[in-house]
């Protein structure tokens, strides 16, 4: 008896080799994701990984779970629809800050509000990696680059606070290089009912080489997670942006997928909409 029968992270990897730049934080995220699946003892066919477009959005292809590499910014509607249709699946929606907060920003608000039982993992590198380094909604206003000389001067979007204000039921920030912390957080996010949002600081070493330094500035959030959204929001708005850990665990009832399903056959809808 030499081969342990328990699932291992490698059991969730596909044959496809990632094409990310060596050093990219997304490699760590893939590891953490697969480790989380192993820890939860889920079978690949019980999981669906859905994404939009971007370097980070390639992640579904690198797992052997069900996957959907959708269109840019539309990962959340896809994941939402999938969960409503197949509530027994564990649905993870994945992508980048550009995909989720620029073109997909509106979907982000409403996914938080709907509170469907899915987990949204954003690999935030504060840049559009795939399209060669344009600033994203989370980019620092003074980030100087060939494509944004002198910086954009625009105030960054604060995804964690927006998630809280919009009704997300679980909010966490992690750092990709902390594989154990990220794995544990993803496990908790999946286990928590409702819409869970995990922002992973995941360096883009090609367009943001400065982010290699994140490793030495991230630190554990000095407080326990709270179930008070206002308190969580105040903490997040006043921290240095590098606090990692679970920051908020809410108790909102998730959207009742089962009740939605009870409506049954399309013919029943005809009756409901009759004037």
């Amino acid at each position: 008896m030499n081969a342990p029968a328990l699932p291992k992270a490698s059991d969730y990897k596909s044959e496809l080799k990632p094409v990310w730049c060596p050093g990219c934080g997304d490699y760590h995220v893939l590891l953490s994701l697969t480790k989380a699946f192993a820890a939860l003892k889920l079978r690949p066919e019980e999981i669906a990984v859905v994404s939009g477009i971007g370097c980070s959005s390639r992640i579904p292809a690198y797992t052997n779970c069900y996957g959907f590499h959708g269109v840019h910014g539309r990962a959340l509607p896809l994941g939402t629809g999938l969960k409503v249709a197949r509530p027994e699946l564990t649905v993870l929606v994945t992508g980048g800050d550009g995909d989720g907060f620029s073109i997909g920003g509106n979907h982000f608000l409403h996914a938080c509000r709907r509170n469907i039982d899915i987990t949204y993992v954003v690999m935030d590198n504060r840049v559009y990696g795939m399209t060669k380094g344009q600033p994203s909604p989370t980019t620092e206003p003074d980030w100087d680059s060939a494509l944004s000389p002198g910086g954009t001067g625009v105030r960054p979007f604060h995804p964690l606070v927006i998630a809280l204000a919009s009704g997300a039921n679980f909010v966490a920030r992690t750092f990709s290089g902390d594989i154990k912390g990220t794995t544990d957080t993803i496990v908790q996010a999946i286990n928590h009912p409702g819409f869970s949002f995990v922002e992973i600081l995941s360096p883009c070493v090609t367009f943001r080489p400065d982010q290699r330094g994140w490793k030495s500035v991230v630190h554990p959030a000095p407080v326990e997670p709270t179930d008070d959204a206002a308190r969580a929001a105040r903490r997040i708005m006043t921290d240095d942006g590098f606090n990692v850990g679970v920051l908020y665990r809410g108790s909102r009832e998730p959207y009742m997928v089962e009740r939605a399903k009870e409506t049954g056959e399309p013919a029943q809808f005809d009756g409901m909409f009759e004037i």
Binding site: L6, K8, P22, K132, D178, K180, V218
Partner: protein
């Protein structure tokens, strides 16, 4: 970041399971790095990482052999407790670069071997069961040999001059 509670190892089987997991993780990490280098057409490094993976594979096989017929106890991946945030001998992924040189790879390997040494050294100093301590000492000494070996290899591959990462034809050009 995660505050690791550290390993609590009380019997030999468990120690062997830890040692095996360390080698398998190290092997998988070098394979991943070799894949990255192949994708980015750094063939010299791809070959070097494959060789390093091969060494770790042999170490893992040796531990299985040492475990004998009874095999290794089954421990969930998430139940291993390391000193840091992951298995000690897994090379530092975020130090990778598509134009990295053998010196960089050996620096990664050195860090990995040193962490593995520190892990077993920690066990030697903390476990109370004599047999576990004796085996931990043996693993620690092996890791010390690996550290020396990598240090010797580093003498053959000196640090590249500044500008090693400059690419006249970068894969991503901003302007």
């Amino acid at each position: 970041m995660t505050n690791a509670p550290g390993p609590q190892i009380t019997d030999l089987g468990e120690l062997l399971a830890y040692a095996h997991a360390i080698e398998v993780d190290a092997m998988e990490r070098y394979q991943l790095l070799a894949d990255q280098m192949e994708t980015h057409n750094n063939r010299e490094l791809a070959k070097l990482f494959r060789e390093l993976a091969g060494h770790e594979e042999k170490h893992a096989a040796k531990i299985l052999e040492q475990a004998g017929e009874s095999g290794l106890p089954v421990i969930e991946e998430s139940a291993f407790h390391w000193l840091g945030t992951e298995s000690p001998e897994a090379a530092d992924l975020d130090a990778a670069h598509y134009r990295m040189t053998p010196w960089h790879a050996l620096q990664m390997a050195l860090g990995a071997e040193q962490r593995a040494f520190a892990f077993f050294d920690h066990l030697v100093n903390t476990v109370s069961e004599p047999e576990v301590k004796k085996w931990a000492e043996e693993f620690r000494d092996e890791e010390a040999e690996h550290v020396e070996l990598v240090e010797r290899l580093l003498k053959l591959h000196p640090e590249p001059a500044e500008g090693w990462d400059l690419d006249d034809d970068p894969p991503y050009l901003q302007d």
